[in-house]
Amino acid sequence: MIDNIDLGLVDWSRAQFALTAIYHWLFVPLTLGLSFILAITETIYFKTGNEDWKRLTRFWMTLFGINFAIGVATGIILEFEFGTNWSNYSWFVGDIFGAPLAIEGILAFFLESTFVAVMFFGWNKVSKKFHLTSTWLVAIGANLSALWILVANAWMQNPVGMAFNPETARNEMVSFWAVLFNQVATDKFLHTISSGFLLASMFVVSISSWYLIRKREELMAKRSILVGAVFGLLSSLMVAYTGDESARTLAKVQPVKFASMEALFKGKSNAGLVAVGFLKDNGKKMGDRNIKDIAFSIKIPGLMSILTGGNTDSYVPGIEDHVFGNDSLGIMSVAEKKARGHYAKDILTSYQVAHRKNDTPQADSLKNVLLTSEYQDTYFRYFGYSSIDKPEDVVPDVSISFYSFHLMVILGFYFIMIFALAIHLLFKGTISKNKWFLWLALLSMPLPYLASELGWILAEMGRQPWIIQDLMTVSKGVSKITSGSVITTFILFAVLFTGLLISEVSIMVKQIKTGPKH
């Protein structure tokens, strides 16, 4: 038995989960977006009866199939890690995660696997209408699968719709609808799927640009660019809109993450939104943390105040307000939250002691307290603060939050420009002549992947030290296993996933070079 958790174990467990999630997310967004592009192009084929659209659809379906096959089941490993590396966390949230993940499993199995088979094996064997329906159902099924995973993730960012059961040490769902319609879940789902649409659109535009550079398959490439660029532009605008909605929600439910994204240490009125900026240490400290200042920035004056409060006079709380509290704004300090968390923990401890001593009257009396809404809503919701040592420990790494957020946003605007430019050049009829644009589009292919991963880095690193916001710290959620075993599996995963990625890229490149069948 290992008596103390060492920080190496926590760090390695986090690194392993990050590695698996980042690799898994290289495959998922293309599936989410390309499935809809296939549905659109096949619909055009269905409506026009033009065989060129069928050929085009089948070509992109081949690339979809490769990505789907290589990526499928890579997410299972994350579930293994929950049970092995994150057993305390997994037990603590089990009842909440059970329903969404079960629905995801059933949907993924029945909708995706059944209709994927029709998509690939069904050409000329089932009716055109049934085939088209299957393609749409694959797209809808894949995106609905993502919904349930994102609902589970959103609950970790904003735990709602549950009550803690002190007998089982588990959070139990009391409102499925509160969990499903959690504002974070809605924002996250729309932002994530639209970013998948964007990524797939860039994938289509980039590969089609390569064909135009090589002067091959020009009709197919131009039609693909048209579909990809229009779908991509609409998706990019949706990404921008849902990103803005997500930020507004963050300001309410994860305000420290929100302030960290903008490196806003001191709150202010008329706060500008940083469009581009760099950070530097300003020599001051908050506890043992160095405070970062914005060394250089281009700001949109007053916009952050407008976005969060509706007008430029609105005060945007900074990290200091959330750490030390701000009575005039009704912001509770970390010290107060710690006091509440400790009270919650003390009652739970007393209940456990009474239980162990078979002091039934005392245990029953304490259980009644533990189940009251006052205990659950006023004290237990800050339970995680009983594990916080210093107030500044609730602040995530500001540099990571700031740069991942701003780089993602800059890339988002770049994508809008690329898609708009592609549409402009297509309608002008000069896209083939503008080699610079074709090269730019081709070289842009990895950028949506980068933006997508940055979004997840912001979401997950930005909520540190929490594994479940305010309820459980990452270090409390980890299993007491040896860091050696985690390092071993980390290396195994790195090898396995790198092998899968190399396989995917090499098979895809071969298919792209081969081109669509005539």
Partner: protein, 79 residues
């Protein structure tokens, strides 16, 4: 009953023909899927990813007690 068998037969034929006439890339990715699932389910799950609480404790009561103990008594990693 006859209709059911006929439907089952058509379904079997659909998948059989699909796999039989699969393209080279299709066969290659199926090979990758099988190898990947073998590694994930038969090696990683069995040897490296046993459920920590299920392996250590026999029933849910013991698991609950252990997790509560971790929540209220185990040392903080921030210390």
């Amino acid at each position: 009953m006859g209709k059911l068998f006929s439907l089952m037969g058509r379904l079997f034929r659909f998948y059989y023909d699909g796999f039989k006439n699969m393209s080279v890339w299709g066969k290659r990715v199926w090979l990758i899927i099988i190898i990947k699932l073998f590694i994930i389910l038969a090696i990683l799950k069995v040897f490296f990813f046993q459920d920590f609480l299920k392996r250590k404790y026999d029933n849910d009561k013991q698991r609950s007690d252990y997790v509560i103990e971790q929540l209220i008594n185990s040392p903080d990693n921030h210390d």
